[in-house]
C-alpha cells in the first residue's frame, strides 16, 4: 500500500474505491484514510464491534453517573436482599428486579450491575494503557532494529526473543504477591493498577516489535526510501517522515487486537487475586468469587463472564474489520 509511484490502472485494479467515476469530471482522489473508512463502513460486523467498543468506553467513563442513576454504590451491602440461611438472593433469578438490574451478589448483597459497570473501568484502563505502552516500546524497537540492521538488529532481536520466552504469568503472580502497599509514591489500588499496566505492557511489546521490524525491513528497500536517501535525507527524516506513516496501519490493527488479549490477562490476574484489592470491583475478581457459588447462584458468574466475553469479542471483531479495511490484500 501507499506506493508513492502512481501507476495508472494499477490502482484501479487493486483499489477500485480509489478511483471516483464522476462522469468525466476530474475529482480529487480519495486519501488512504478515506478509502479505509469506506471499506470499514461497509463491514457490518466490524461496525457492530466498533459501536460496542465505543459504548463500553462510554460506560467506563460515565460509570459514576450510570450507577447513580440505575444502581447502588458498588461496595454497598444490601443484606436485606439475601436469604439468611441459603446465602443467596431471596428474590428470584438471583435477585433481579427493578432496583437491582442484574441481581445481587450472594452473602453481602452488593449490586451486580454497579459492580459490573465499575469493573469495566479497571479492565479497559489497564488494557488500553498497557497496550499503549507495549505499542510504543514495540514500534520504537521494531523500527530501529529493522531500519539500522546489523549488530543493532541482532541485539534487539535477541532481546525480543528473551522477552517472548519470559514466563509472564508466573512473574506477574510473584510480583503481585510481594508488592507492598506503598511504593514508588503510590499506594493501594493506584499502585496495583500501574503495576499491572507496566507488567503487561512491558512484557507484550515483542509481539508488535517483531511485526514492525518485518514491515520496516521491507519498506527500507523500497524505491521511495532510496530516493529520499539519494536526495540526502538523514536517518531521522526517513524514519519519521517516510517509514512511520507507512506503519500506522499495522500499528493500529495490532493495537486493536492486543487490547482484548490484555483485557483477558487483566481478568486472569484479578481472578488469581493479584490484581487490585477487594472491595474494588473487577470482572476477574467477580468471576473468582462466583466460582464458590456457581451451583446455587449461577447469575453471579454469568454477569462478569458475559461482560468479559462481549468486550473481548467486540474488540476482536472490530480489530479484524480494521485490518481488512486497511489491508484488503491480507484477507
Amino acid at each position: 500500500m501507499s506506493a508513492p509511484l502512481e501507476v495508472p490502472g494499477a490502482a484501479e485494479q487493486s483499489q477500485p474505491e480509489a478511483v471516483v467515476d464522476a462522469g468525466g469530471v476530474p475529482v480529487a482522489g480519495r486519501s488512504l484514510g478515506q478509502i479505509a473508512w469506506l471499506r470499514l463502513k461497509r463491514d457490518r460486523v466490524a461496525m457492530g464491534g466498533g459501536v460496542v467498543v465505543l459504548f463500553l468506553i462510554a460506560v467506563a467513563i460515565f460509570a459514576p453517573l450510570i450507577v447513580a442513576w440505575l444502581g447502588h454504590p458498588p461496595n454497598e451491602f444490601h443484606q436485606d436482599q439475601i436469604d439468611p440461611n441459603l446465602q443467596t438472593a431471596s428474590g428470584k433469578w438471583g435477585g433481579i428486579d427493578s432496583e437491582f438490574l442484574l441481581g445481587v451478589e450472594p452473602v453481602n448483597g452488593r449490586d451486580l450491575f454497579s459492580r459490573m459497570v465499575y469493573g469495566s473501568r479497571i479492565s479497559l484502563l489497564v488494557a488500553f494503557l498497557s497496550t499503549l505502552l507495549s505499542v510504543v516500546i514495540g514500534t520504537v524497537v521494531g523500527v530501529v532494529s529493522g531500519f539500522f540492521g546489523g549488530w543493532i538488529d541482532t541485539l534487539l532481536s535477541r532481546l525480543m526473543d528473551l522477552f517472548l520466552a519470559f514466563p509472564l504469568l508466573v512473574f506477574a503472580l510473584a510480583i503481585g504477591a510481594v508488592i507492598p502497599d506503598k511504593a514508588f509514591g503510590l499506594a493501594g489500588d493506584a499502585l496495583r493498577i500501574v503495576l499491572m499496566i507496566v507488567v503487561i505492557g512491558f512484557f507484550s511489546w515483542p509481539y508488535i516489535g517483531r511485526i514492525i521490524r518485518g514491515q520496516t525491513l521491507s519498506l527500507r528497500e523500497r524505491e521511495f526510501v532510496d530516493a529520499a536517501k539519494s536526495l540526502g535525507a538523514r536517518s531521522p527524516y526517513i524514519l519519521f517522515r517516510e517509514l512511520l506513516p507507512n506503519l500506522v496501519a499495522p500499528i493500529l490493527v495490532y493495537s486493536t487486537l492486543l487490547i482484548p488479549t490484555n483485557i483477558l490477562f487483566e481478568a486472569a490476574l484479578s481472578f488469581l487475586n493479584v490484581g487490585v484489592r477487594p472491595p474494588t470491583a473487577t470482572w476477574g475478581g467477580m468471576l473468582s468469587e462466583a466460582t464458590r457459588f456457581y451451583q446455587i447462584a449461577p447469575g453471579f458468574m454469568l454477569v462478569p463472564g458475559l461482560a468479559i466475553f462481549v468486550t473481548v469479542m467486540a474488540f476482536n471483531l472490530f480489530g479484524d474489520g480494521l485490518r481488512d479495511a486497511l489491508d484488503p490484500r491480507g484477507r
Binding site: 439468611p84 452473602v107 453481602n108 477487594p278 472491595p279 464458590r292 457459588f293 451451583q295 446455587i296
Partner: protein, 588 residues
C-alpha cells in the same frame, strides 16, 4: 487450636462453618450419659448421641482432606482434626473419650493406667503405664519412649507446628532438643523422670491443675528412639494404636491398615471397626462436598462443615438435611485491635470500633444464622463454665453510630481515622468480614484499607509478627480461634496472655497486652477448685472485653454431612466434629 488449612482447603472448608445452634447441642440430649443412640436419620441425629450404632467390623473408611496435614508426626501437629485422627495410630498417656457430646470432652487414661497423680502443689505429675503395650513391630513401649517423644516435641526448630505447652510449663532448665543432647541415651531432660519402665514423672515450673489435658496431646505418643528420623519421622510414624501406616504418599494419599501388635484388651476406648482407613489429600473442597453428598466419600476430615454451595443444597432438601448435623463448636471468629497502631493505642478509639461494628454483617459473612451465633464476648458458650455478657450492646447488633462517635470524640478523633485491616487472602469468609467492617466503620468516619495476606504465613510473618503489623499499620486483624480443649485455659490462654507474644512472630495472641488480664490468667491457672476456676476464666474474658482488645464476631457452628453408610457417628465436644475413633462403615 489453630485450624490451619492449606490454600486449597480454605475456600470450601471455611465456607462450611454452618449449623443451627439452637436446634442442636442444647436440646437436652447432651446430658452426657452417652448410651443414647439413634437409628432414624434426622437433622442433628448425630448431636449428643450415637447415630446408627454398630459393632460390625470390616470395610474401608474413606476420608478426604482439602489440604494436607501440618505433619503426621504426633510431635508436630496442631490441627484439631489431626488430634482427632492421630488416636487411630498413636496412644498418648491420656485421651479424649470417644463419646458423644460433652462426654467426648472428658479426659480418660489411654497409655496410662489412670489419670495423673499430682503432688500437693500440683507441680509434679506421675503416670503409670499399662503393661504389655507394644509398638507395631512388637517392641514393648516403655516410659522412656514417652519421655523421648516429649523431649523431641520441645525442639521447635525441628518441629515448629505443635503447641508449646510443654516448653512453657516443664522445668526444662534450658533443655532444647534430644538432637543436641549429649547424654548417651538422649534422655537428658531433667523435668521428666522415668524411675522404671512403667512410671513417668513430670515436673513443672508452676502449679497446673489441668495437666491431664497436656497428657492427652499427641506429643506424649511414644516414639522409639532408634526409629526416629527427625523431620522425616512423619513419613513412617511407628504406630501404637489399632492402625498402622500401609501407604504414606506425602501430599497425596494415606492408607492405614490394622496393627497386629495392638491389643484390644488393653484398650477399652477404641472400637477399631473398619479394616482399612484411607485418606486422600489435597482434594478440591467443592468436589469433596459433592462426593460426600453422592456417597463416594465418607468423611471430610477437617470437620469444619460443608461449603456454601453444599450448604444451600442440603438446607433446601429435607432428605439431605436429615443426614446432616449442626455442631456448636468452641470456636470464635473475631477481629483483633492492635494497640501498636495509633490511634488504636487509645482505649476510647477501640471502644468506638466495638460500637461501630455491624455484627449482623459479620454473621452473614459466616453463613448467616446457621453459620453461628453473634458473639458478645470471647469464650464460646459451649465451653463449660463460660458466661455470655455484652459490654458493648448495640440495637439489633447492627452497630450504634452515636455511641461510636461519642467514643471517637473522647479519643480525640471526632472525624474518625484511617487504618488497615488484614485478613487471610484464601478465606472468602474473612474477606467478607473485612468488607463488612469496612462498610460499617465508614459510617463513623473510620476508613479501612483491606490488606490480604497468605494464609500459611499469616501469623508467622504478617499479622502475628508484631513489628510487621506495626510497620504496616495493621490496626485491625481478622482472625479466628478454636479451643485446644474445651475449658477456659484451653481456649483463652494462647490468645489473651501477653506473655505468650514473641517478637519473632508466629503469635496467636495478636493484640491483648494488658497486665490486668495477665494477672487474672495467673490467678485462674493456679485455682484448683473447678467451679472457682471456671469463674476465674470468665473474669479473664470480662477483663479482655473491658480493654476492648477484640471485636468478637461469631461463635461458630459447623454443618456436617454424614453419608448413609457410616455407623457410630456422633459429634464429640473434645474436637467439635465427628469422632473418628468410633466410626465404622457398612461399605465393604
Amino acid at each position: 487450636m489453630r485450624r490451619r488449612r492449606s490454600i486449597v482447603a480454605v475456600v470450601a472448608a471455611t465456607a462450611l462453618v454452618t449449623g443451627l445452634a439452637a436446634c442442636g447441642g442444647d436440646d437436652g440430649d447432651t446430658d452426657g450419659t452417652g448410651d443414647q443412640s439413634a437409628t432414624k436419620a434426622e437433622f442433628n441425629a448425630g448431636v449428643g448421641k450415637v447415630f446408627n450404632p454398630s459393632d460390625a467390623k470390616g470395610g474401608t473408611l474413606r476420608f478426604a482432606n482439602s489440604g494436607d496435614w501440618d505433619s503426621l508426626d504426633p510431635g508436630d501437629t496442631y490441627y484439631a482434626y489431626a488430634w482427632n485422627f492421630v488416636r487411630l495410630y498413636g496412644r498418648s498417656l491420656t485421651m479424649f473419650k470417644a463419646a458423644p457430646g460433652e462426654e467426648g470432652a472428658t479426659v480418660v487414661p489411654d497409655l496410662a493406667e489412670s489419670l495423673g497423680t499430682p503432688s500437693d502443689d500440683a507441680k509434679t505429675w506421675t503416670y503409670k503405664l499399662k503393661s504389655g503395650i507394644k509398638f507395631e513391630d512388637g517392641t514393648p513401649v516403655t516410659s522412656k519412649d514417652v519421655k523421648y517423644a516429649v523431649e523431641r516435641s520441645l525442639d521447635k526448630a525441628t518441629f515448629p507446628n505443635g503447641p508449646t505447652y510443654f516448653n512453657d510449663f516443664l522445668d526444662t532448665q534450658g533443655y532444647e532438643s534430644p538432637y543436641k543432647d549429649t547424654t548417651p541415651d538422649k534422655l537428658g531432660l531433667k523435668a521428666i523422670e522415668t524411675p522404671d519402665d512403667q512410671t513417668i514423672i513430670f515436673k513443672l515450673v508452676k502449679p497446673f491443675s489441668g495437666f491431664d489435658y497436656f497428657a492427652q496431646m499427641p506429643s506424649t505418643i511414644p516414639v522409639p528412639r532408634d526409629k526416629d528420623t527427625g523431620t522425616k519421622y512423619k513419613e513412617h510414624v511407628v504406630s501404637t494404636g489399632p492402625y498402622m501406616f500401609e501407604t504414606n504418599e506425602l501430599g497425596k494419599r494415606i492408607v492405614l491398615t490394622r496393627n497386629p501388635n495392638w491389643d484390644a484388651a488393653s484398650d477399652p476406648n477404641r472400637k477399631a471397626l473398619p479394616d482399612k482407613i484411607e485418606v486422600q489429600l489435597n482434594v478440591n473442597s467443592d468436589d469433596m462436598d459433592n462426593r460426600l453428598l453422592s456417597g463416594d466419600l465418607d468423611v471430610a476430615i477437617e470437620g469444619s462443615g460443608v461449603g456454601a454451595a453444599a450448604q444451600g443444597r442440603i438446607l433446601a432438601d429435607q432428605a439431605l438435611k436429615a443426614n446432616a448435623d449442626s455442631a456448636e463448636v468452641a470456636r470464635l471468629w473475631f477481629t483483633a485491635m492492635n494497640s501498636d497502631v495509633a490511634p488504636l493505642d487509645n482505649i476510647e478509639c477501640r471502644k468506638a470500633v466495638e460500637y461501630a461494628v455491624d455484627k449482623t454483617a459479620y454473621q452473614r459473612a459466616y453463613g448467616g444464622d446457621i453459620g453461628g451465633k453473634i458473639a458478645s464476648n470471647i469464650m464460646p458458650p459451649v465451653i463449660p463454665g463460660a458466661e455470655s455478657f455484652n459490654l458493648y450492646e448495640t440495637p439489633n447488633n447492627a452497630g450504634d453510630v452515636n455511641k461510636a462517635k461519642e467514643h471517637l470524640t473522647a479519643c480525640g478523633q471526632p472525624n474518625g481515622f484511617s487504618t488497615n485491616i488484614s485478613y487471610r487472602a484464601e478465606r472468602p469468609k474473612e474477606k467478607a468480614t473485612a468488607e463488612g467492617l469496612q462498610q460499617a466503620l465508614a459510617k463513623v468516619g473510620i476508613k479501612l484499607t483491606l490488606r490480604p495476606f497468605p494464609l500459611a504465613d499469616y501469623t508467622k510473618l504478617y499479622a502475628g509478627k508484631p513489628d510487621y503489623a506495626k510497620a504496616n499499620n495493621l490496626g485491625l486483624m481478622v482472625y479466628g480461634w478454636g479451643a485446644d480443649w474445651p475449658d477456659g485455659f484451653g481456649f483463652l490462654s494462647q490468645i489473651v496472655d501477653s506473655r505468650v507474644i514473641r517478637a519473632t512472630g508466629g503469635n496467636t495472641n495478636l493484640a491483648v497486652k494488658d497486665p490486668k488480664v495477665d494477672a487474672l490468667v495467673d490467678k485462674a491457672m493456679s485455682e484448683t477448685d473447678k467451679a472457682a476456676r471456671e469463674k476465674a476464666w470468665v473474669e479473664v474474658d470480662k477483663a479482655t472485653m473491658e480493654g476492648a482488645w477484640y471485636v468478637p464476631g461469631i461463635w461458630s457452628n459447623g454443618l456436617l454431612y454424614r453419608p448413609k453408610n457410616l455407623t457410630n457417628v456422633f459429634i464429640t465436644n473434645g474436637f467439635q466434629m465427628y469422632d473418628y475413633l468410633a466410626m465404622g462403615t457398612t461399605n465393604k
